[in-house]
């Protein structure tokens, strides 16, 4: 045992423990709990029935009262551990409840009915995942439609972003023309005017071109991302010009050079931009909120906010749908997190 402790507490270079080491591990473990805990609590809660969600204090895992089919009764009955009038404690099925009195029967011999005060009985509970929280919103609400809309917006916007940004980046990195610096300045300048500043005029532009209340109205204003153009241009600058000159000698058209040479070579940067774009567009909230008014066009984020804003919040559905909304981003986190962190550390973009 002491060897295990010695192994766990050994320090590089044989130095002893310093208060900063304790602080460090407390910070890290505290961070682990704080960063993942809330999301984990969301997932656990999303599998609870409405009755369980209303419990205070809540249980960690989703439980449900165990039920049993008893001969002579149509519906399955809830099981309780009850203290009977004769002093014995048995597992009984509840037939009905009248006021503070519960009428119980023995599931195996359901002939005799025992009357017990409800304070003297405890429900028998088992872990049960209320998967209906997940299936019902898809069947009875518009969540399937919201999901489709979100997927459509994310995929189409990302494809257009990749195409238009890479074309612009190609022009800005491989051609000498008048006004190139002006264009670059314009693009960098956009970083200063975020969407929240342009909300009102952008809405009028969208209305004027007939894109109000359409998914294209959500997609188009977001695709000319300055960060995307900038990121791709910086990457394309590292592609040697000789490669392009050689292709021109071989009579390749400029489009072929872009499509066959530059684009494949810029694949790593494109991949980073694609990951970013997917996360951005999936998470977009304010702009879709402004531009979409028909419910069947809502994206998941807007739909979720609408349901959560209702007077009578149906938390069991909201929680489950929040988990669904989280899934793509969690997948990105698990599999692609390295590329994002490398991208941020390298360029400071988000």
């Amino acid at each position: 045992m002491s060897q295990v402790v010695a192994f766990l507490t050994r320090r590089r270079g044989g130095r002893g423990w310093h208060w900063t080491d304790i602080f460090m591990w407390a910070w890290l473990v505290g961070g682990l709990v704080l960063m993942f805990g809330p999301a984990l609590w969301l997932v656990l809660s999303s599998f609870k029935t409405p009755a369980q969600l209303a419990e205070f204090p809540p249980t960690l895992l989703p439980y449900a009262t165990e039920q049993v089919a008893v001969a002579g009764y149509d519906k399955p009955l809830n099981l309780f551990t009850a203290q009977l009038p004769d002093g014995t404690t048995r597992v009984m099925a509840e037939v009905r409840r009248v006021g503070t009195v519960s009428q119980l029967v023995d599931p195996k011999a359901p002939g005799e009915i025992f009357k017990v005060n409800i304070a003297d009985r405890q429900p028998v509970r088992e872990i049960r995942f209320a998967t209906e929280n997940y299936t019902q919103p898809f069947e009875h609400f518009d969540f399937l439609q919201y999901l489709k809309n979100s997927v459509f917006v994310t995929v189409v916007a990302t494809l257009i972003t990749l195409l238009t940004n890479s074309m612009a980046a190609f022009a800005l990195s491989k051609y000498e023309f008048r006004g190139r610096n002006l264009v670059l300045l314009l693009i960098v300048g956009t970083l200063m005017v975020p969407l929240s500043v342009l909300l009102v005029p952008l809405y009028s532009v969208i209305s004027a071109v007939g894109l109000f209340d359409s998914l294209w109205g959500v997609i188009l204003p977001t695709v000319a991302t300055p960060t995307g153009v900038f990121l791709l241009r910086q990457y394309m600058l590292t592609i040697p010009d000789e490669l392009i000159d050689a292709a021109r000698m071989d009579n390749a058209s400029e489009w072929q050079i872009y499509w066959r040479i530059v684009l494949p070579l810029a694949a790593p940067a494109l991949a980073v931009l694609a990951i970013f774009s997917v996360v951005w567009r999936w998470n977009d909230f304010l702009w879709p909120l402004v531009v979409l008014s028909r419910k069947e066009l809502y994206t998941l984020q807007v739909g979720l906010n609408t349901y959560a804003g209702e007077l009578n919040v149906q938390w069991h559905f909201i929680l489950a749908m929040t988990v669904v909304t989280m899934i793509p981003v969690v997948l990105v986190f698990i599999f692609l997190q390295r590329y994002i962190t490398a991208g941020i550390a390298g360029t400071g973009l988000k």
Partner: protein, 340 residues
Amino acid sequence: MTVQTTIGQKIGAAIAAPISWLAAIVDAPLKLWQRATGTNGMAAFFLAPNMLIFGIFVLAPFIINFLYSTTSGNAFFLPDRNFVGADQYRRLLECGSYLDPSSCREDLFWKAVHNTGLFVVLQVALLVVVSMITALILNREIVGRSFWRAVFFFPVLLSPVVVGLIWRWILQRQGLLNSMLYQFGYQPTEWLTDRFWAFAAGVTVSVWAHMGFFTLILLAGLQAIPRDLYEAAEMDGTRPGRVFWRITLPLLMPNLLVVIILALIRAVQIFDEVYVLTGGGPGTSTLFLTQYIYEVGFASLLRNPGLAAAASILMGAVLVVLTLVQLQVGRRNEKKGARE
């Protein structure tokens, strides 16, 4: 690096495959265009889609915003609106005392300004301190550093709506936090319907959601500090506190400034996660500028797009100043880097 290339190429290929036939079809007319305009004409072609979208959806709104802010009425179509000059700005700025929102004509605007100001100061300060501590810890020789780095980065990817809902669920009256307090024998608190606590929750939740991003930038800066400086300090027997103030902090200053300004720019625009968390309430205690613009522009019954545009321009002016400072800092860093 090689792994990154292969995965990148795979994604690239997957995206390129279904549209590659399109590229072949596009090629023929483009060759004609190229023959007519020369190689540089092709630059215009490549720039066109992006700049067209940029022009319509960024540049045009940018200019229209100024026109909007000088008109009144609730029509969105610009020619239907009345020119009123600087009236909207006058209305926003008409105030008995700028320190007291209730003495202003647009009391909600000034309430939002006050809230945003307080939020910016508290959130940025907390954000920088927390990110700094985390970055310093992640910069030490710890087992599984990339794992721990990922841990703090996780919330950054979550959507603001998800962040808002997760915390609303935890902070509500019968939520996890209150039940934990209850089990330790404390009274439950109304976290989201108490003015003070709702504001504090907004600050804390937004720090929770964004600290991973700033930690990454600071960590990149810390890792760029040459190791031999620390070794020299260790040989001289310098105390750790002194090492931090005399070596780490001065050398990290450029990154720290970038982080502070970036955090400021984002904090000024705070909206989504707090909006989902508290809806601006209770009352107006968590009403921020972006929500004010959104509500005056679109949501309220007495909508006034001109007023919203004027408010957004005032907010934009603050952001432009902050961005210019950032660019200046960035340029100074580059120059310094070139000298070294």
